[in-house]
Subunit: 523 residues, 2 copies
């Protein structure tokens, strides 16, 4: 078999059965092999950022990697922003980048560039596979790096002649890659004991979680740990996936604005990090600190993304004598149906009133989504996926991947107008795949967050030319025709009642659709 | 003044008065400074690939750089593909990438990444400006690198605190950067004499041009050189800008398909390179050579992109005694109006019949545009801009930049359906700026070139799952609603007569519009 087939066989043997792709000539053998390897499901994207963001969303929901298939350096470039977000999410992604044939390299043909260097910026692991015989083994190593811990983007660069030549040797899963929860570094005993002492000290403590601690049994365990010791439970600002809603432990996310985050953390003497990163400001601002840890607060880095988190949580629970089941559970409660003028707040209230059980929310609502977590806190259990790396254009691609990962769940993409336009091509893939994704466009006709940031960074009295660079209303963007052009049903709402009708209909209808909410900017 | 203002002042002092931007928080001081520095015109893009492609198109038409303004590593990533094309075009681009404040670097905040490493892949020059006092001088060095020769992407990384702090020192143009045609390396005398001897030898020779040799007096001179010596005049497959049409020297571009290129070059004993790169296959194919130079043919690299091309052409003309004005000129002739079923061919014939004098054609028609050069050869003088680096998604952004560079000219974007979707956001900038760009969408509902490549790379009997990955008709993409959603007038043509009507109307109407041509695939 050729190299492409041995690659696909190795991937599918390790449970990687989905490839989000935008291929070109150098990837044609991979594409051709799809007919011989029915275990691999190809999902076509019109733009590489959709493919990479979808792989991220897929990993967050499925808990295992998908692969991508990208065309040389420019294809990788187009996918880079969402690979950055995947890196920050610690999402496992097998990132396959086709390259020119090895024999073609000396000629510096038009599409040639240094793929490995660019890939390193987002990848924990980068390898160029140099022979067809080696493809399977290299793919296995790539898989191992992607699975982690920590979960990571792992990039395999596949030259066209390595792909098309005969002699491929697929590698099966007997090596154990991807078959278990993985280990990770054992917790440092001194750090554990210091953290336990802090939790028992009576001083004000916060258990600060992120990553794997925001889901499943680990979320229950960290909540029990906090409750048992009287510590506060806080979550990083943009977790990759937070399980929440009625019946789950309520978790407070630290605010985006540094000023609010500092107020929130003020007085805390110990931050116990469990897969959460010590809080820093998203951006720097003149005269304001970057490090948000209060003076006099000790940070206890108990377990990070590469560590044995279950082991660390267990050990800490033992040391402090935490009680299983101690944590409170979120009450089921939904906001009353909102009425009147449509606004960011009534959109979020309506979402809270209607969000279906088991939904996955891909949240790139930015300023307009500010009320969404509060309004949905008591909705039926659901998962919340955040903009982990700050590279906007994540929300719609992540929604694609989430929906492919679990076709039984409703995905809601809560999407700001400006952010939506970076990767709007995702809508076409939703239509093509018939995905149950409901996109809510929060259309305030501006890069509203930048209007706020323009003031916050201390730019004195922004003038009309500066404001104009943040204005998306000239011309007005028609999201309904955009969605229709990409094959989706779409509707526009200008009142809260219209929005509730359209959202209800969209959530009840199989397949993708778009509801545009025309709202004033909060800022 | 702050760093941002000193940067803008330095740019405008050197004739860089246009900035294609998609800024974020770390660039807000640059944005705020636009009100104080009215000499800089900001052009907003919804996606960074539009900004970088526009800077490329601007440079090709204006002959001087624009700047970009991108947001950290992910913004650069989104702009990378079109910077790759700009690099291959030797377009001067001042690529400004905002970064976190220097003081914020130790904290590895969400958006942090290694910008310089990614930038190096496309930039001849990369510098991070580390102090506000240095911004002007660093900008001057960036400008010098961009102007060349060779023209290049030069990247200046601007940390937010360097931008916002006071103490900026703008640099004026007295250093001579960008004020003249530039020098470049003098031609090697031995190479010159060998080339001259070849041209005088009676053996079959081809003058192989690219870059600067495809425009203006240099184009006339190389055509005279070829005619005077009986050499053939050939142009690289994808020149950055080829001046052509009635009254200009006719230039034959080497074909894209390696098989055809090899047939064309067969028998040529000497290739005289004048800013043209020795021809290589675009991609490698099993069992086929990458180097397209025929056996027994000597390549004479007289002048490349970094060399003194005018000097080299003059010297060669002197050595062979070339006659100024010897070259034939293209006769004025237009195709007869086409009728009947709409096809790639009748679209191109109609374009040939209607192309206005002074037009700029941004050609990303791919397979469907195959007939366009022939059909427009005798049209009134116009410029033809090609996909230099093979990274698709170039055509619409380059059209934006071309139209901003010269608002007196009509720009025609000849755009394949698949390629259009990578950077479709360009349409919004056309609408916002009221640019005279007519987009012709060649909608054949497929990545047609890949259907061909799938066969050419030797993939045996592609099956339905492979073909499905190249199919853009499931669902059908509605380019008319897409264009309307982004603020443009648009029409769809299904017959040649409709297309002629709509194209004529679009070309005669100020501002941007889109004509979608529904055509069968050639392949």
């Amino acid at each position: 078999m050729n190299g492409a087939r041995s690659l696909i066989r190795t991937l599918t043997a390790h449970g990687v059965d989905t490839c989000f792709m935008n291929p070109g000539t150098s990837e044609m053998h991979f594409v051709a092999a799809l007919d011989d390897e029915p275990g691999m499901h190809g999902v076509l994207a019109l733009f590489e950022g959709v493919a990479t963001g979808a792989a991220d969303g897929y990993a967050r929901v499925a808990g295992r990697p998908a692969s991508t298939l990208l065309h040389l350096g420019p294809g990788l470039g187009n996918g880079l922003a969402n690979l950055h977000n995947a890196r920050r999410a610690h999402s496992p992604v097998v990132n396959i980048v086709g390259d020119h044939a090895l024999s073609h390299r000396p000629y510096d043909a038009q599409l040639q560039s240094d793929i490995a260097t660019v890939a390193r910026n987002v990848s924990r692991f980068v390898r160029t596979t140099e022979s067809t015989e080696q493809v399977g083994a290299d793919a296995r190593d790539t898989l191992a790096a992607a699975f982690g811990p920590p979960g990571a983007v792992a990039t395999l660069i596949l030259p066209a002649d390595v792909s098309w030549s005969e002699g491929g040797v697929p590698v099966d899963a007997s090596g154990g890659v991807g078959t278990g929860p993985g280990g990770g570094t054992a917790p440092d005993q001194d750090v554990l004991e210091a953290a336990a002492a802090a939790l028992r000290s009576g001083e004000r403590c916060a258990v600060f979680i992120g990553g794997r601690a925001c889901s499943g049994p680990l979320l229950d365990a960290v909540a029990d740990l906090a409750t048992s010791t009287g510590a506060e439970l806080l979550c990083e600002t943009f977790p990759a996936k937070l399980e929440r809603g009625a019946g789950r432990p309520p978790v407070e996310r630290l605010g985006y604005l540094a000023e609010f985050a500092m107020m929130r953390l003020d007085g805390i003497r110990h931050l116990i990090l469990l897969d959460g990163k010590s809080p820093v400001s998203f951006f720097a601002y003149p005269g304001k600190p970057s490090d948000l840890v209060p003076t006099g607060c000790t940070v206890h880095p108990v377990a990070g993304p590469g560590d044995d988190l279950p082991g660390a949580v267990d050990a800490l629970a033992d040391l402090v004598g935490a009680t299983a089941g101690a944590a409170p559970r979120q009450q089921a409660e939904r906001p009353a149906p909102a009425t009147g003028a449509l606004s960011a707040q009534t959109v979020c209230q309506t979402l809270g009133a209607l969000l279906p059980e088991g939904a996955v929310v891909s949240d790139e609502g930015n300023t307009s989504g500010l009320f969404a977590p509060g309004a949905t806190a008591g909705a039926p259990p659901h998962d919340w996926l955040c903009l982990t790396g700050g590279a906007i254009g994540q929300g719609l691609p992540v929604a694609v991947g989430a929906a492919v990962a679990d076709r039984s769940r409703r995905v809601v993409a809560l999407e700001a107008d400006g952010s939506a336009l970076y990767t709007i091509q995702a809508w076409w893939t939703m239509a093509r795949e018939g995905l149950d994704v409901t996109t809510v466009i929060l259309n305030n006709h501006s890069y509203a967050v930048l209007n706020m940031e323009l003031d916050r960074v201390g730019a004195a009295e922004p003038g009309p030319r500066a404001r104009d660079m943040l204005d998306l209303g000239r011309p007005d963007i028609g999201f309904v025709p955009l969605a229709q052009g990409l094959g989706l049903h779409a509707a526009r709402a200008e009142t809260t009642e219209q929005f509730a009708d359209e959202l209800g209909r969209a959530l009840a209808t199989p397949g993708p659709s778009v509801v545009e909410a025309v709202i004033p900017s909060l800022l």
